[in-house]
Amino acid sequence: MALKEIPGDLSGTKGTVETIQIVPNDVATVLKIVSILYGTNAAGPVAVPVNADGKSFDLAILPGNNLLQVTLFSPNPVDGLATAQELLGGVVTILKDDIEFVGGVAVWSPEILGA
C-alpha cells in the first residue's frame, strides 16, 4: 500500500517497504540524493541507502511518528524544483511536487506516521 498524505503527515503501514523516487520537474535539472536519514526514536536516525540510480530509496516504515530527511544536491546554476513520488503497481503517487533547490541544495523533511 502506498504512502498517503494526511493532514500534517505522510501515513504508511509500519513494517512495509516503500520505494520513493525523486525526479526533477524539468529535464535540465540534474539532481542526486546525497543523504537520507530516518527515525527519531531513542536510537537516533538511521542512514537509508540510496539506490544505484541516485534518485530513489527503499524505506521500511517505522511505527509511530518519525522524521524523514532527504537531502539533494544539484549542480545546476539555476535552481529548479523536484517531485517526490512513489511508484506502486504501475501507479504513480505524488507525495510532494514542489521540492525547491536553494543554492543547489534541497531538503525534504516530512513526518511519517507508521500505523
Binding site: 529535464v27 527519531t40 530527511q69 537531502t71 544536491f73 549542480p75 510532494k96
Partner: protein, 550 residues
C-alpha cells in the same frame, strides 16, 4: 562535438531558461514579493508564483505541498524567519549561545577546505617560505610572518596579510555569517584573494644634509651624512583569482565527475546533513509538529489561508495572495514560539547555519567536479633596493584522495619602469616551479603536518639590477651618485632553487613552516647558497570574534 548533440544542448539550455529560470515567477511577481518587505514573501516567492500560475487552491491543493505544509521544507522555512530570529537573539544578548557555537563550527568547515593552504607570501617576496604559489589560500583573513630568502642573497623578514574578498566584504559589512542563498556575484568573490606583503626590519641608510658643526672638533667640510634606517616598508600587492572549468550539468562526462565528487565528500555531507537532522528536530520536534498541525490556532489559520488563496487565485490578485500567505506563516510562527518557547529563535539560527554548511559542501563538490582550470595571480612587487616589477603567475594544482597535492606554476616578471639609458629590456625573467605535498595525520582535511619538496627554475635575461644611492658607495670614495642609478649584480641565465619544508599545523588555523633551501646562485653572488626558513601564520577565520556579526 556532433551537430545533433550541440542542438540537444542548445534545446536543453532553452528548456532550462524557459522552465527553470522563469519557473512560476514572473518579474512582476518578484517585484510584488520584494515590495512586501517581508522575508516570508522573499523565501516563498518562487513557490507562491508557481502556484499562482497553476491555480490549484479553488479545487484541491495537494496536502503535501509546501504552501500548506511549510515545515516539510526547512530551507524556505528557515530563510523566512532567519532575520527576525537573528534580531531577537541579538536583542536578547544570547550571542554566545547556540548561534555563536554554530557559526564557529561553520568557520572551521570553511577554513580547512584547502588541503595545502598558503597563508604566506609568494616566492618573489624576500622572506617567503613558499617556493610555489598555491591555488588555495584563505576563505576569510590570514596573517603570516616569515623569515628567509630564495633567490636573494640577504635574508628578508616579511609580514603578509591575505583576505578572501567575499570574507572581507562580509566582515566589513557586518553581514550575518550564516548566509542563506548567496548570489552568484558573492560566489565569484569567494574565488578572489587579495594579499599585501611588507618587509620588516629592513636595515638601510638614508642621506641627510648637515646644517653645521655641533662641536668645534668636527670637520667643517661635512655637508652630507648617512643616517641608518630600520623600517617596515610596503613590498608588494597580489590579486589571485581561481578559474573553474565551464560545465554542462546534463553532460554524461560531467555527471560522472559530479557523482565521484559527491562520493569523495560523503563524510562532510553526512556530517552536515546529520547535524541538520538533529537541530531541525529540536526546532520542530515530532510531538510539537503533531500538536501544532492539529491545534485549533493552526487549523483556523490554515482554513483562512486556503479560503483566501482560492479567492485570490480566482481574482488574479497576486499581491493579496502573498499577503494572505504572510498572515498564515506568522500564525504558524506564533504557534511554534508558544510551543517551543524562546529557544525557537536560537534553533532557527542553528538550522540556518547547518543549511549554509550544506550549501558550502555542495559548492565544494561542484568545484571539485568542475575542476580548477587554473588560478591566476598578479603581483606588483617593490623589493627593497631593486626596481619594481609586475609578476603574472598561472597556478595548476591536483589533489589526490589521500590529500597529497601536486602544484605547478608558470610565471613571468616584467620591470614596471625602464629608466632612460637602461641597458636592459622590459622582461626580467620567466619561472617554472613544481611542488609535491604530503599530509601527515589521520584527518587529511586538518593534517598534523605537511611535508613538501619543491623545485624552482628561473631564466633571467639580464643580470640582477640593484638601485644604488650614495649609501652604497664604499666609504672614503668621492663619487657622485645621480638619482635612478642602477648596477648589475651576479649573472644572467638559469637560477635553480630546491626546497624541502615541514609545516606544522599546531591548531585550527595556526601553522609553523620550517624549511631549508639550496640554490645554485643568488641575486648578488654567483656561488651556491644554503638557507633556512621559518615562519608563523594564522588563519583568522578560526577566531569567533572575526566572524561574529556586530
Amino acid at each position: 562535438m556532433k551537430p545533433s548533440s550541440k542542438l540537444l544542448q542548445i534545446t536543453l539550455l532553452l528548456i532550462s531558461l524557459q522552465t527553470t529560470g522563469t519557473l512560476g515567477q514572473t518579474a512582476d511577481q518578484a517585484a510584488t514579493c520584494k515590495s512586501k518587505n517581508s522575508h516570508i514573501a522573499t523565501a516563498y516567492c518562487r513557490l507562491l508564483g508557481d502556484e499562482f500560475l497553476r491555480k490549484r487552491f479553488p479545487d484541491d491543493y495537494p496536502l503535501g505541498d509546501t504552501l500548506v505544509k511549510p515545515l516539510d521544507s526547512p530551507i524556505e522555512f528557515t530563510e523566512a524567519f532567519f532575520d527576525v530570529a537573528y534580531d531577537y537573539v541579538l536583542t536578547a544578548k544570547l550571542k554566545s549561545d547556540a548561534y555563536q557555537a554554530a557559526a564557529n563550527a561553520a568557520a572551521q568547515v570553511l577554513s580547512t577546505k584547502a588541503t595545502v593552504p598558503q597563508p604566506g607570501a609568494n616566492a618573489s617576496a624576500s622572506g617567503s617560505t613558499s617556493l610555489v604559489a598555491k591555488p588555495t589560500t584563505t576563505d576569510l583573513i590570514s596573517l603570516a610572518a616569515e623569515s628567509g630568502a630564495f633567490t636573494d642573497t640577504v635574508n628578508g623578514n616579511t609580514l603578509t596579510a591575505k583576505a578572501n574578498v567575499n570574507g572581507l566584504r562580509r566582515y566589513l559589512s557586518d553581514e550575518n555569517f550564516a548566509e542563506l542563498n548567496p548570489t552568484k556575484a558573492k560566489d565569484l568573490l569567494q574565488h578572489v584573494t587579495l594579499a599585501a606583503t611588507f618587509d620588516i626590519a629592513q636595515t638601510g641608510s638614508t642621506a641627510a644634509t648637515s646644517t653645521g658643526q655641533a662641536t668645534s672638533s668636527t670637520p667643517t667640510n661635512i655637508q652630507s651624512i648617512i643616517v641608518p634606517s630600520n623600517n617596515l616598508s610596503f613590498s608588494g600587492l597580489t590579486v589571485s583569482a581561481s578559474v573553474y572549468r565551464p560545465y554542462t550539468p546534463t553532460s554524461p562526462g560531467f555527471i560522472t565527475k559530479w557523482n565521484t565528487a559527491i562520493k569523495q565528500n560523503s563524510t562532510a555531507i553526512l556530517t552536515a546533513s546529520g547535524q541538520l537532522f538533529k537541530d531541525y528536530n529540536q526546532l520542530v520536534p515530532d510531538e510539537s509538529r503533531k500538536t501544532i498541525y492539529a491545534g485549533p490556532a493552526f487549523m483556523a489559520a490554515l482554513h483562512l489561508w486556503k479560503t483566501a488563496a482560492g479567492e485570490d487565485e480566482k481574482n488574479g490578485d497576486f499581491s493579496k495572495f502573498v499577503d494572505d500567505y504572510i498572515t498564515f506563516m506568522n500564525a504558524l510562527a506564533t504557534a511554534l514560539r508558544s510551543q517551543i518557547g524562546t529557544d525557537f529563535d536560537q534553533y532557527i539560527l542553528t538550522v540556518a547555519t547547518n543549511i549554509s554548511n550544506l550549501q558550502t559542501v555542495r559548492n565544494t563538490v561542484l568545484d571539485s567536479a568542475r575542476g580548477s582550470l587554473a588560478t591566476f595571480t598578479y603581483s606588483y612587487a617593490t623589493p627593497t633596493g631593486k626596481p619594481a616589477t609586475h609578476d603574472l603567475t598561472a597556478i595548476f594544482g591536483y589533489v589526490w584522495k589521500t590529500g597529497d597535492q601536486l602544484t605547478f606554476n608558470g610565471a613571468g616578471s616584467w620591470y614596471a619602469t625602464i629608466p632612460p639609458g637602461a641597458k636592459y629590456g622590459r622582461v626580467r625573467d620567466y619561472q617554472v616551479t613544481g611542488e609535491y605535498d604530503h599530509p601527515f595525520g589521520k584527518d587529511k582535511t586538518s593534517p598534523r603536518a605537511i611535508f613538501s619538496v619543491a623545485g624552482y627554475g628561473q631564466y633571467q635575461y639580464t643580470a640582477n639590477i640593484l638601485n644604488i644611492t650614495v649609501a652604497n658607495v664604499v666609504p672614503g670614495t668621492d663619487i657622485t651618485v645621480p638619482s635612478n642609478s642602477q648596477v648589475f649584480t651576479s649573472t644572467p641565465g638559469w637560477l635553480g632553487v630546491a626546497q624541502t619544508k615541514l609545516s606544522f599545523n599546531i591548531g585550527k588555523g595556526a601553522t609553523i613552516p620550517v624549511a631549508v633551501k639550496w640554490s645554485n646562485k643568488t641575486d648578488l653572488l654567483s656561488g651556491s647558497d644554503w638557507k633556512g626558513q621559518f615562519g608563523f601564520s594564522y588563519d583568522l577565520s578560526a577566531l569567533s570574534s572575526i566572524l561574529a556579526p556586530k
